[in-house]
Amino acid sequence: MKKLIKLTVNGIQREIEVEPRQTLLEVLREDLGLTGAKKGCNQGECGACTVLLDGQAVSSCLVLAVRAHGKTVLTAEGLATDGQLHALQQAFIAHGAVQCGFCTSGMLLSAKALLDRNPHLTTREIEESIDGNICRCTGYVKIIEAISAVAQNKNS
């Protein structure tokens, strides 16, 4: 039996009929065509499906879509505004923090959740904030550099 849910995704109000068993990740990818959130493990271990739910970084493969009713969702597709990349997106490109790109959306959103909450970050805090996001390509070095650069800019 399908349920009607209402939620705001990347600033747009949506009404969607979902199966009770569907995850938020499935609805984003399959019903809304927002494939920026990735299914890397589908069991909450890799972080590739990270999105912001009311500003909080969540693994969208572990959130049932019905639980997102009445909430606000931000995905990688919604990070750039007015044709301008978000500071984190710019920094990821400039610092070479993107390789295959599969973890990138989740990384960006985990970093954003952290920076929104606490702009004064130590390297250790940055590492901890993305500890739930696995990247096999970069060894994390340039990702940490990119997030640090944005944090420093915010502080200055």
Binding site: R29, E30, L34, T35, G36, A37, K38, K39, G40, C41, N42, Q43, E45, C46, A48, T75, A76, E77, L79, A80, L85, Q89, F92, I93, A94, H95, G96, V98, Q99, C100, G101, F102, C103, T104, S105, L108, R124, I126, E127, E128, I130, D131, N133, I134, C135, R136, C137, T138, G139, Y140, V141, K142, I143, I144
Partner: protein, 797 residues
């Protein structure tokens, strides 16, 4: 580097914007109208006969469109290796036997993944369980159960292309059972060499099976159009032309009836080059049903049923002179390739191939065996044999140095090869930065101060630190199908260009580096280049992104294509300016007279002139480059004869660790790599490759391990398979040694794989330096460190 405008700089990636905005399309993101979903039923037994499969109930489930078993496609065989000596041994679905837990038994195509999964539970399979073997030693026993009874014939692309190779049988067939490959190579006289040595040491090392952990799960989308008679594929892969070749053969379709479309690969690390049952079955089902079919493996399937790195036992006997000069080395390697050959017969060749370019060893004997067991299948993984063999050789060289009271850095410097050396197979080292790499890596870790070996008193404190060093080498491409790369450069009216390349972007940055090569050669900016890539229909052939051939082979093809376009531009300009080509120079999309720079034509004007004066020719440059220009042969895997690669990348790596002697925990504090990649086409991308290698090498040294119990994988998830996380990141120094490889475009050669290989020995040697104990089997877990520490204390007291 300053003589260049575009190459050598750390310019931002051309695929960056697409990837940070979530718009980049990976194979898992491809969705077609009416698309069905496929799921596999897999063997729960490591070794069993299939007596009967009943699919009737599954077929009747609403939403199920097809249930396929091996009987229907019993004649289909394929494999990564398919040669007269090593015929293909894989089938998309088991026909009469399963050989490992996870082996594909049946596949269902249904309207949703959920329906397909429900259908799997309705399939009834009757098995007769057979005795199974889980180590090469058991498998090689004369009375061991045989995994592959049937003898097949194989033909490689060489035979397809008319170059018949002599058919050989296994030389050791009668002595060992379940052998999937044997490599035997000698030069000099190893027995005599060992006698000439002042000191001989024998050791045994062991490495673990490890997982690639590409973040995008393996997936394929196939769409066959019966009216067009053409199969359209989206594959998460590393080489679209090799995939097209292998799949067209397996599906018995003409190669022109198969098109691989572009999609980004979300990481590969060697694990996405074999042909897989999910690819064949998606294609076959789509052809059968006339509808698109997608098969996406879940993470447990990726861990269990795709590929792993070979666990290898290495027996090493080395003789040296008192001063550490290596005289003789006797190497025996046994690789467990699991239920199918995978790349077993290749890895035992590559363990030699990545070992002999480093040290001069006058007397050498190498024997490699790859063996079938009822474990999961093993295939190429970043470095492919290098991490295993480098772990053994440099761990032992460290032990020898300690025994003789020598500094391993000095011993390495004494033994390493150099530029100008000709390897025993005929390969030339036209560039070799080993010596500089060693010196820089040692300096970078503060070797003389940090090395405990030279401290007067042994450390007693709980947390102990030490340093270690290791070296590595890697090919820059080899003669593997399609044996070459080609490129097309199309100029536009405004002087910008489109690059058509068959290279596949999987994270290594080839779209960017190839665009830089084009831009530099043509005298335009990176922003002026648009890349069309990764599509077998739109682009010319490409050697593929494996064996690290991208920079050198494809890079040369792109450079030649750009040079061709530039030549045409200059010829038009020369005509317009009434001068000869030699009198011209190029800057900012303008062509000047050297002597009178006020006289120039723009690229736009030259292109227009070409269209008008040369019968509409809009200027299209083409270029191609062979995998190894001096040979038409693939080297012999069994005998190590023939040319391997036209350039070797080298690296030296040092590590500083801190060992907690109470818990056995090892922390990598600092990793220093100096990689000789010839010339960095893009500095940021090269650094990123090295950093990724260092991280993977650290994981495989300290924590990564596929845990199997009677063929059953115990840790098929990221929670239980412990790969490095952000908080594990060590201080990383990655430097480059510029040697300008004469065969490479702008001097570039390999960078993407080698640096994974030195980390394991560097860390193992650092642990020894810190604590005095040696762990000779990977990974170096806290349990092993504690066990070794306890054993040593007992021995001392």
């Amino acid at each position: 580097m300053s003589q260049y405008n575009v190459v050598g700089k750390g310019l931002p990636r051309v695929d960056g914007p697409e990837k940070v905005t979530g718009k980049a399309v990976f194979t898992v993101d491809v969705s077609l109208p009416g698309m069905l979903h496929g799921k596999f039923l897999r063997s729960p037994h490591p070794h069993a006969k299939i007596l009967n499969i009943d699919t009737r109930a599954a077929e009747q489930l609403p939403g199920v469109r097809a249930v396929l078993t091996g009987r229907e496609i019993a004649d289909v065989r394929y494999a990564f290796v398919d040669t007269p000596r090593y015929p293909a041994d894989e089938q998309p679905l088991a026909v009469d036997k399963v050989r490992y837990i996870g082996d594909e038994v049946a596949v269902v195509a249904a309207e949703s993944e959920a329906i397909a999964e429900e259908a799997l539970s309705l399939i009834k399979v009757e098995y007769e369980i057979l005795p199974a073997v889980f180590t090469p030693e058991e498998a090689m026993q004369p009375d061991a159960p045989l995994l592959h009874e049937n003898k097949f014939t194989g033909t490689s692309a060489w035979e397809d292309w008319g170059a018949t190779q002599r058919v050989n049988t296994y030389e050791t067939e009668t002595t060992h059972r379940n052998l999937s490959g044997r490599t035997f190579i000698t030069f000099g006289d190893v027995e005599q060499g060992l006698q000439e040595a002042d000191y001989v040491r024998e050791d045994c090392f062991q490495t673990a099976a490890t997982a690639h952990c590409a973040m995008e799960p393996h997936a394929a989308v196939a769409s066959y159009d019966p009216i067009e008679g053409k199969l359209h594929l989206w594959l998460s892969t590393m080489g679209i032309f090799l995939k097209r070749y292998n799949l067209s053969r397996a599906l018995k379709l003409p190669i022109s009836r198969v098109r691989v479309h572009h999609s980004y690969a979300g990481g590969a690390f060697g694990g996405k080059i074999d042909v897989f049952p999910y690819e064949f079955c998606a294609a076959y089902l789509s052809m059968k049903l006339g509808l698109p079919v997608k098969i996406e493996l879940d993470r447990e399937e990726v861990f269990t049923t795709t590929r792993q790195r070979h666990p290898i036992k290495i027996h090493l006997k080395t003789g040296v002179k008192k001063d550490g000069t290596i005289v003789a080395q006797d190497v025996k390697v046994i690789a467990d390739n699991g239920g199918y050959r995978g790349s077993g017969s290749i890895v035992i060749f590559l363990c030699h191939g990545f070992s002999f370019p480093i040290y001069k060893v006058p007397h050498y004997r190498y024997e490699g065996l790859s063996v079938y067991t009822n474990n999961p299948v093993r295939g190429p993984q970043r470095g492919h044999g290098a991490p295993q063999i480098r772990f053994a050789i440099d761990s032992q060289l460290d032990l020898i140095s300690r025994e003789l009271g020598l500094d391993p850095v000095e011993v390495m410097l004494k033994n390493v090869r150099q530029k100008g050396d000709v390897l025993p197979n005929g390969d030339m080292l036209n560039s070799c930065g080993l010596r500089e790499s060693i010196q820089e890596a040692a300096a970078g870790i503060n070797w003389p101060e940090k090395r405990r070996q030279f401290s007067p008193a042994p450390a007693q404190e709980r947390f102990r630190r030490g340093v270690g060093i290791s070296l590595c080498a890697m090919f820059s491409g080899a003669m593997y199908y399609p044996f070459a790369s080609a490129a097309i450069v199309k100029l536009h009216d405004d002087g910008s260009a489109t690059l058509y390349t068959g290279a596949q972007e999987m994270g290594q940055g080839c779209y960017t580096t190839m665009a830089q090569v084009l831009a530099e050669e043509l005298g335009i900016e990176l922003a002026d280049v648009h890349v069309v890539a990764g599509d077998t229909e739109l682009t010319p052939i490409d050697i593929g992104s494996f064996l690290s051939g991208g920079a050198l082979v494809t890079g040369n093809a792109v450079k030649l294509a750009a040079a061709d376009a530039r030549r045409q531009l200059l010829e038009c300009a020369a005509e317009l300016l009434g001068a000869s080509v030699e009198q011209l120079q190029v800057r900012e999309k303008k062509i000047y007279l050297k002597q009178a720079p006020e006289r120039f034509v723009t690229y736009t004007q030259a292109i227009q002139a070409s269209v008008f004066k040369r019968n509409g020719n809009p200027i299209i440059g083409t270029g191609s480059y062979k995998g190894y220009p001096e040979t038409n042969r693939y080297p012999s895997l069994a005998k190590g004869k023939g040319l391997f690669t036209s350039a070797y990348g080298f690296a030296a790596q040092t590590a500083e660790v801190e060992v907690d002697t109470v818990t056995g925990q090892v922390k990598l504090l600092k990793a220093v790599t100096f990689h000789d990649c010839g010339f960095p086409l893009n500095k940021t991308i090269v650094e990123g490759q090295v950093q990724g290698c260092v991280s993977m090498g650290m994981g495989q040294a300290l924590s990564e391990e596929i845990i199997l119990e009677k063929g059953q994988l115990f840790n098929p998830s990221f929670l239980t398979y412990r790969l490095p996380l952000a908080t594990d990141t060590p201080e990383t120094i990655d430097g480059l040694v510029s040697t300008l490889e004469p065969n490479g475009p702008f001097g570039a050669k390999e960078v993407g794989e080698g640096s994974v290989a030195g980390m394991t020995a560097a860390i193992a040697c650092a642990v020894h330096d810190a604590t005095g104990v040696r762990v000779d089997n990977l990974p170096i877990t806290p349990e092993k460190v504690l066990r070794a520490l306890t054993a040593r204390e007992k021995a001392l007291s």
